[in-house]
Symmetry: C2
Subunit: 200 residues, 2 copies
């Protein structure tokens, strides 16, 4: 009954969010690259989350011969504007272009979640889902965008922003789970863990 929980993500923010559920877990990341075949953003993040979790589970099974009484959690977050995914910016110019597109309107953030639940006979039960949060960014002047970018917080962030920190003054409101935008839909993961009997 007492399963080992493995978070298949290197993100310190995800680690912190998973801690809020109050479970003990280990972090393990696979180096294997993920590729996707889906077309719609919510399907793409589901696929990427599943692949991340499967890569970790495969490596674990390869080492130990089998994998049992273990839950592997994979997650992937994307920023979506007009059904197109905004990735991480290449440079400041690229980040400017992204923020320019995001300001003055609504966009969506999807986090794909994959939970691989291996029972005592190594048989696997899979839950794979994408959670959506709408984010409303206020209109920004070019000066405001420049000032935001100058602080450097856009680096290595999907869509060139993080909802925590120096972009906060420009986010009017969200509709959905806040933590989903940070990187892990805490409420959804908790519910799933409960349904699977991982937490009580």
């Amino acid at each position: 009954m007492n399963r080992k929980i493995i978070l298949g993500s290197a993100s310190p923010r995800r680690r912190e969010l998973l801690r809020q559920i109050g479970v003990d877990f280990e972090v393990r990341v696979s180096d294997k690259e993920e590729h996707y075949h889906s077309v719609m953003p919510d399907e793409i993040v589901k696929e990427l989350a599943l692949m991340k979790a499967e890569n970790v589970a495969d490596e674990l099974a390869g080492e130990t011969g089998n994998i049992k009484d273990t839950v592997v959690l994979g997650a992937d977050t994307v920023v979506v504007l007009d059904e197109k995914i905004l990735g991480k910016p290449e440079d400041e110019k690229d980040a400017f272009r992204m923020i320019q597109q995001l300001q003055g309107r609504e966009h969506k953030v999807y986090t794909g979640v994959a939970v691989l639940d291996f029972d005592s006979e190594s048989s696997r039960h899979t839950v794979n889902h994408a959670v959506e949060t709408k984010v409303y960014v206020h209109e920004m002047t070019e000066e405001e965008i420049q000032r935001y970018l100058a602080a450097g917080d856009y680096k290595d962030k999907a869509g060139s922003y993080g909802i925590q920190g120096s972009f906060a003054p420009y986010i009017d409101r969200i509709d959905g789970d806040y933590y989903n935008v940070v990187g892990l839909p805490v409420s959804y993961v908790y519910r799933t863990f409960r349904e699977l009997g991982v937490v009580f």
Copy 2:
């Protein structure tokens, strides 16, 4: 043009949120008690925020003889269920009752904001407003409520919860500014500061 900004609140969370706007400010709190005459919760928080700011401004003016080129920011946050304010719990039993009421449904959080802007001639311009965020708490079993309370995070919190931390697994979604629930509507305060020329 360069005004001194004073945050009239002892809350470390408000201090951290105001820092996100990127302004320098001092903290100053008045011991004077606030009383209100309004009936509706959004009017009550406006009144309380205004009184907090005014008490700080009065004390400052009393010391220095006058108050100029200074902005005083007051804020007050309440949790509202069916138009009734849920205060801080007296004890664990009281907290249980509050969480029992909040679970399985939507409630509102209002933060009242008061900005007193004193110009170089000590003449005052006032902005006083309440920002609303809807919060949806998932259904909770008695065991879940007990487990949440056992961690002690309900203490000294309006409505017996903080949106950050160990209550996060039970919050399905919000509709509005997340930081408004934490204690300061960062986006609204930033816009107001811009309109007043406090930030550029």
